[in-house]
């Protein structure tokens, strides 16, 4: 009888501590870091013939880190270290599509990261020449971030060739080549990403950007209507409301303020972009003085 009592008491202690420890743990645990991986030769040797498995495990570690950091702790992930991990994972298994997809989802919004991101995606395209996703991503990065429509159209045509059932990529290639409306092309691109996105955090990111672009597109259409009506360009976004062209100014989901640039296009003080620093830390978008560039 004593043993049963002791057993029940011990079970109760375990149940109580299991209930309470997450709260205490969250209060005292140190900042979550993604540790730098060893050199690729050491990883290859350490995999003992299971390079593909190690590559998948590195990807999972990076994915879980991103999920906990951005989704659970609501902190900014260290994007430089995410790139380093994904680069090494794809050195181990250059056909690991999860890595390329995740890299595009997390890094393609940061302009300084685009050259290294495109290098990573080109490595993927070399080893997965059947996969239309990779040229599609590379083309989008060239067009929206590097403002290089010639290279963008070349890769978008590759995507269209590999996925002939979808007319979307050929349409995007044509728009890029003929310097069509960048905002509209960006909306088409984001809608195609949202359609395929299974990860809820990435989907949220895409949707946030889509809302921002739709707001810009809405304002740009308003400016055109204002020009047609008054024969001149509005000075401020507020002029559109005053003239009754639009009922209210849409909000920037990134927290910035929309304004009309010298070229007549709509920009936001938030830049719709996130930071990328050399030391591996990440900087949230902040309102700054000067002429901000618009990302897609």
């Amino acid at each position: 009888m004593k043993r049963v009592g002791l057993g029940i008491l011990l079970l109760l202690v375990v149940a109580l501590t299991t209930y309470y420890y997450p709260k205490i743990q969250e209060t005292y645990e140190p900042p979550l870091r993604l540790h730098r991986l060893p050199p690729i030769l050491a990883l290859r040797i350490g995999s003992f013939g299971n390079k593909e498995l190690l590559s998948a495990l590195i990807f999972y570690n990076t994915e879980f880190y991103f999920g906990e950091k951005a989704g659970f702790r609501k902190e900014t992930p260290e994007l430089k270290l995410i790139y380093d991990a994904l680069n090494k994972a794809t050195d181990l298994d250059p056909r690991n599509m999860d890595c390329y997809y995740f890299a595009q989802g997390t890094l393609s919004w940061i302009k300084p990261a685009i050259p290294v991101l495109n290098r990573l995606l080109k490595k993927g395209f070399k080893h997965r020449p059947w996969d239309w996703y990779l040229p599609f991503f590379i083309g989008a990065n060239y067009y929206f971030q590097l403002k290089d429509p010639i290279h963008a159209a070349k890769y978008m045509k590759e995507a269209a060739r590999l996925n002939p059932r979808s007319p979307l990529y050929a349409m995007l290639a044509a728009r890029m080549l003929y310097q069509g409306n960048q905002t509209e092309a960006g909306i088409i691109y984001l809608k195609s990403l949202i359609r395929e996105a299974a990860n809820p955090i990435l989907r949220k990111k895409f949707e946030k950007r889509l809302h921002a672009l739709e707001a810009i597109f809405f304002l740009e259409k308003g400016i055109k209507r204002y020009e047609n009506k008054f024969g001149k360009r509005p000075v401020k976004i507020g002029d559109l409301v005053k003239a009754g062209i639009i009922s209210e100014i849409p909000t920037d989901p990134y927290g910035g303020v929309f304004y009309i640039g010298k070229d007549g296009r709509v920009y936001s003080t938030s830049k719709l972009a996130e930071g990328w620093r050399k030391n591996g830390s990440h900087k949230d978008s902040k309102i700054k003085k000067g002429v901000p560039k618009r990302g897609t």
Binding site: L41, R44, G49, N50, E52, L53, M97, D98, Y101
Partner: protein
């Protein structure tokens, strides 16, 4: 020949009865059963990740079982003097070695086949459940399993070689682990040195040494067909044949020297 078959069947029966073997097979089933959960975290390639996981688990377990089972093959009998009676009979020692090795091969074949069968069943269930038109690359999957079997066969022959000269079971275990670790990575190191990634100040003697090691140690990377199965890449029949010929020849050389050394051994 009859004595070889008799030794092989006895070894097979002993292996099937071995608790270590049964325990590892149970662990294998659990790991394979977790395939669906492991692959569910993949963003774009759950089927590829599932095949990757299944083959890697089979590979790791088969190598562990080869090391432990190969060590128990002769070393344990020598340590406990169980085989002294058999060896005092008018049976050639070569038959003893060949019979034991054949029994070992049957055991490893059984392990790889059972784990492969369950993994295939799990993957087929997962693919049919996903219903996204992806076909299971069965032939390439079986080829990858053959590659794992060949790796184990070579490692087993290396263990028999070390066992034939060793007086305790620790020496062959450590040496076989070392041979596996080196053999799994000789190709990686050789290609790294050839890639020009190392500076000019890299000692030439190490370069020569890595070449020598590459040709002396078994190249286990040759039998790694996992990537072909995971991504459905075209697999050349010629590559399979050359790998099988290399593996067979390497194992035969190890067994040849093992027989010579074991015949000269004073038991």
């Amino acid at each position: 020949m009859q004595s070889i078959i008799a030794f092989a069947l006895t070894t097979l029966k002993g292996g099937v009865r071995d608790r270590l073997l049964q325990g590892l097979i149970l662990v294998g089933f659990l790991l394979i059963a977790s395939t669906a959960m492991f692959s569910s975290f993949s963003m774009r390639q759950p089927v590829e990740v599932a095949i990757n996981y299944g083959l890697s688990v089979i590979h790791i377990l088969s190598i562990i079982m080869t090391l432990f089972f190969g060590l128990n093959l002769i070393s344990r009998e020598l340590d406990s003097k169980e085989n002294h009676f058999i060896l005092s009979q008018p049976i050639p020692r070569s038959s003893y070695i060949m019979g034991k090795y054949s029994g070992f091969l049957l055991n490893i074949f059984l392990i790889v086949a059972i784990l492969g069968f369950f993994s295939t069943a799990g993957l087929l269930l997962m693919i049919s459940g996903a219903n996204n038109g992806i076909s299971f690359p069965l032939v390439k999957f079986v080829s990858a399993l053959c590659g794992i079997f060949f790796s184990c066969a070579i490692l087993g022959a290396v263990i028999v070689l070390f066992t034939s000269v060793a007086t305790s079971s620790i020496f062959p275990f450590l040496m076989s682990c070392a041979v596996y670790a080196v053999g799994e990575n000789t190709q990686t190191v050789k290609r790294y040195l050839a890639s020009g990634m190392v500076g000019k100040d890299f000692p030439p003697v190490f370069r020569v040494l890595s070449d020598i090691i590459y040709y002396i140690f078994p190249n286990f990377a040759l039998f790694d067909f996992k990537a072909y199965a995971i991504y459905g890449l075209p697999l050349s029949g010629r590559l399979l044949l050359v790998s099988a010929a290399y593996g067979g020849a390497y194992a035969a050389v190890c067994l040849f020297f093992a027989v010579i050394l074991f015949e000269r051994r004073d038991i």
